[in-house]
Amino acid sequence: MTLLSNALLGLALAPLTLLAQDRYMTRTGHVDFHSSTPIEDIHADNDKAVSVWDAGTGALEISMLIKAFTFKKALMQEHFNENYMESGKFPKSNFKGSIKGVTAAQLAVAGTYPVTVEGQITIHGVEKPVKAGGTITVDGKGGIRADSQFKVKPADHDIKIPGAVRDNIAESIQITVRFDYTKMP
């Protein structure tokens, strides 16, 4: 009876085990944004994005705290949080979608694979579709790195820029993503 119970339990858990084998995560994902105009460059970094990627299905989820973006200038960071991103009201930004162009089997072979990332990005509480190119790099020692760059328009996410500083902030902001994934236990 015990053997039968164990066998049934094993069968029941098998799909979960298989699922976990292809899942990768990071809790120190790097996301930065850069705005460049003739008047000034604005740059901020966030090294605390979390992400889970299921290489079997391609499903990808990312979440980050808006307040975790750091600027060199304190005043810029305050304006970013209070006036533009309203981080008290919209504390997180997230992405739900998928990575296409690489299979779980390819992750066993070192190399750089071009991929397409596609899904819905939520910034300032406004969800928009996004599609970007990127790469998955397998280093052969179990390390998997994902890189991507894409542009976001503040206006698309209902982020209002006051007229006085409109020329200081680019119409399209360059977003750079770099995630070093490790296999989930």
């Binding site: 120190t28 979390v50 989820e61 979440s63 005043l75 997230n94």
Partner: protein, 148 residues
């Protein structure tokens, strides 16, 4: 003479305003060492509060104006930083998929700290990174060692 004084006063006000504006524009972040911790909490309890009610925990620990909190806990891991990436001290929470992640400027990270040490950290709490089914961490930035 009277007109000259008025011009002088206007010039001083304009110069003073410009100096204040420039200083404000290039102002760096306030050092946490000069801030009193408004809350002191153990790492597992801090995570538990965010998991139970994210909005309430944000109101308490993140607040509407920048504030420092003190977190006490046992170091699970230390991830070294460099010139562009801050060092990261992870405090145990009892959940292997979550920690209190404390960002230190590499120069502020006590050299003697190692995994297993019981420490106290003072920093700016920015919230919990997890979302729905995504696991995450409670993030503290600009951290320094606090007195236990």
């Amino acid at each position: 003479m009277k007109r000259r004084n008025i011009f002088l006063i206007i010039a001083l006000v304009v110069l003073g305003g410009a100096a204040f504006g420039l200083k404000e524009c290039f102002r760096g972040h306030t050092g946490v060492d000069g801030m009193d911790a408004v809350h002191a909490v153990d790492a597992p309890a801090l995570l538990a509060e965010f998991m139970a009610d994210d909005a309430a925990a944000r109101a308490k620990y993140v607040g509407s104006a920048e504030q420092a909190i003190q977190v006490n806990g046992v170091i699970a891991a230390i991830e070294a930083g460099n010139d562009s990436i801050p060092a990261n001290v992870r405090l145990e929470t009892g959940d292997p998929m979550a920690s209190v992640a404390c960002e230190f400027a590499p120069a502020d990270l006590p050299a003697a700290w190692k995994a297993g040490d019981r420490v106290s950290v003072k920093g700016i709490c920015q919230g919990y990174t997890g979302d729905g089914m995504l696991p995450g961490d409670v993030v503290l930035q600009r951290c320094i060692e606090a007195e236990q």
